[in-house]
Symmetry: C2
Subunit: 372 residues, 2 copies
């Protein structure tokens, strides 16, 4: 029997008007009433979007992000609770379990300035939307893989909460929950955190996934995501681990040196649709997967290398293709081996011709061997 | 009046059967008759392609490339002429002007092993095609930007020669000439060189560019590439430099920190179609552009930073969409500033939502200021 996971949700406002939401999962958590005492001035607006007619896609131009916080010393970490460092942080309270707030340097925000004056041929619009930061723990030195299953369950509920909340905005066409981990992928803050983007359009790769799913559904009456999962489970050679509700596998045509997809057994469009039992198992299965990934590469002295990764939740867009989309998590890494990165050079970046030098079956076999 | 550029073409065979072609542009170049004396064993076959049904795209799996030469010391450079280093190189002769040979660690090759045994649901095929290395000069310490206009004209003729030759193969659907420059983009050999890929399919981004061009042509009767060039020239705020036959501009929706497109004024599908006057001017215009790019970022002590870049020729596929495609060169860099790279993290890599923090007009203005 599964008990409903209990979290307490407290919404507050930062000094510049941005929203901050505490999600507490411990019974003893004190009320989150601290006031943001910083002098921040007005909140930063987002910029604008430009249409790239060459490929039929949008590019967000966010000039102010050039000045965003870059690898600050630990005692100036903006994601630690206030009082942990030498300066007030983005989180006014002295502690938190999980906290979400609007990004100070937003790619998309409720307020956006479209300051382009271009002839009609060049399409543009304001980058209206929302970009949020999700801190997984107040412990600066931790990682997602070291969270408790209880905390991961909270994070899952937070992702679902934010997906539902952002999805209600008429401005937001797609909600994307993700974690970038490691300097090799450009992370500028070490504190364990993820991000949530609410885009005002359906981004190109999501649109492509939706187009293929729509085509498959029209042709077969079935969900492409379900057929891919069934085929991977039937083949088995790329399956990493499997529970009652979830299966993790290296996809047949994996394009990253390390890539795993984690898919629910039930057809669901997004995180909101997951039930309690599915969320509970996801917490343990995802932790198991991340811990294997952190042992995948072994460095000098036989020590495992904390894997830099992108963990990306592919969900149905908020208002299109919800009947053909199927939720999955994509975790991928650019690390080919100790000190060796996969680069997206000419073939991948210019013409989109991907070449990989790792066999998906070999990656899966190694990940299967790395059980606790 | 333009004189036809004279080059001498000598085809030879390496020890493992791979083709090598010398393109000499100096009247005094001796005959290229040296024999490859290495014991290489049989040439490496390419691997296979897997179909990624999720996005409708192919991924080449080339396992042996994991062992390719990685930043060798200068006296073991495989691209220097033999005799310059301590070991015989890939080029048997003691000198060359420009030389092209088939890649020893090929992503695509005339011989490819499709060793996948997968159920019908998973599509695969042999990675038949061709991957070539183009050495721009025998001078290990040089760069493309430091070549003479005469030599660049030779390289242009070589690109056209290879585009025509590879395009005649029934196995090759698209020919891509490019240069990856700099360790920041993953270059594993410092010797100035580019590559040519002959793909057995039209890669995804090229296919997308073709789809948009086809749609535009069907709707307007015009070439999208011509309309974009005309709009950029009319607007002018992003134009970097312009000649009689070529214009370089930062595209309206540039997505890389530094990105320039160089387009011919005449509608041509590929490099083969360029005339002598166009090739001559391209040599000087491209050198001018590259020299500006190498002064774009300034490091400690006021010294300019050699820009890591991808220079990518977008051509019409060999047999599809030739009537709607229009040649252009895309040069882009991941370097945002000294020591700061643009990373393709969650938003770009997972859902395809691009965010840039540099304004195209600002980049263009700086490049205009950097004239010799």
């Amino acid at each position: 029997m599964t008990l409903t996971h209990a979290i307490r949700r407290t919404t507050r406002t930062l000094a510049d008007g941005r929203e901050i939401i505490y999600f507490d999962d411990t019974a003893e958590a004190p009320a989150r009433t601290a006031v943001d005492t910083r002098e921040l001035g007005p909140r930063a607006a987002a910029g604008h979007l430009r249409y790239d007619a060459l490929v039929g896609d949008w590019v967000a131009v966010a000039g102010h992000r050039m000045n965003r916080t870059f690898l600050p010393p630990k005692d100036e970490c903006p994601l630690c609770p206030t009082g942990h460092g030498s300066v007030p942080s983005e989180v006014p309270d002295v502690d938190y379990d999980v906290v979400v707030f609007e990004n100070r340097f937003p790619s998309y925000a409720p307020v956006a300035h479209d300051d382009v004056s271009a002839p009609d041929f060049f399409l543009h619009s304001a980058a209206v939307g929302r970009t949020e930061v999700v801190c997984f723990t107040s412990d600066h030195e931790s990682t997602f893989a070291r969270l408790s299953p209880h905390r991961v369950r909270t994070v899952i509920d937070v992702w679902a909460d934010r997906t539902a909340a952002l999805g209600r905005s008429p401005d937001i066409a797609h909600v994307f929950c993700f974690e970038n981990r490691g300097q090799e992928i450009g992370v500028t803050l070490h504190h364990p955190h993820g991000q949530i983007y609410g885009y005002p359009y359906v981004p190109a790769r999501t649109a492509e996934i939706l187009a293929r799913a729509t085509e498959h559904h029209g042709r077969t009456g079935r969900l492409l995501g379900a057929d891919l999962l069934a085929a991977e489970r039937a083949d088995g050679s790329r399956v990493v681990l499997s529970g009652e509700h979830w299966t993790a596998y290296v996809p047949y045509a994996a394009r990253w040196p390390v890539e795993v997809h984690l898919a629910p057994h039930r057809d669901v469009p997004d995180l909101v649709a997951l039930g309690d039992a599915e969320r509970d198992e996801l917490a343990t299965v995802y932790l198991d997967l991340l811990r294997r990934l952190d042992r995948y590469h072994v460095g000098d002295g036989g020590l495992p290398i904390a894997l830099p990764y992108i963990a990306a939740w592919h969900q149905a867009p908020t208002r299109t293709g919800r009947d053909v989309s199927r939720l999955f998590l994509q975790v991928m890494s650019v690390l080919r081996g100790p000190g060796k990165l996969k680069y997206l050079a000419g073939s991948e970046s210019a013409v989109g011709g991907w070449v990989t030098d790792t066999r998906p079956e070999t990656v899966a076999a190694r990940l299967r061997d790395l059980a606790d």
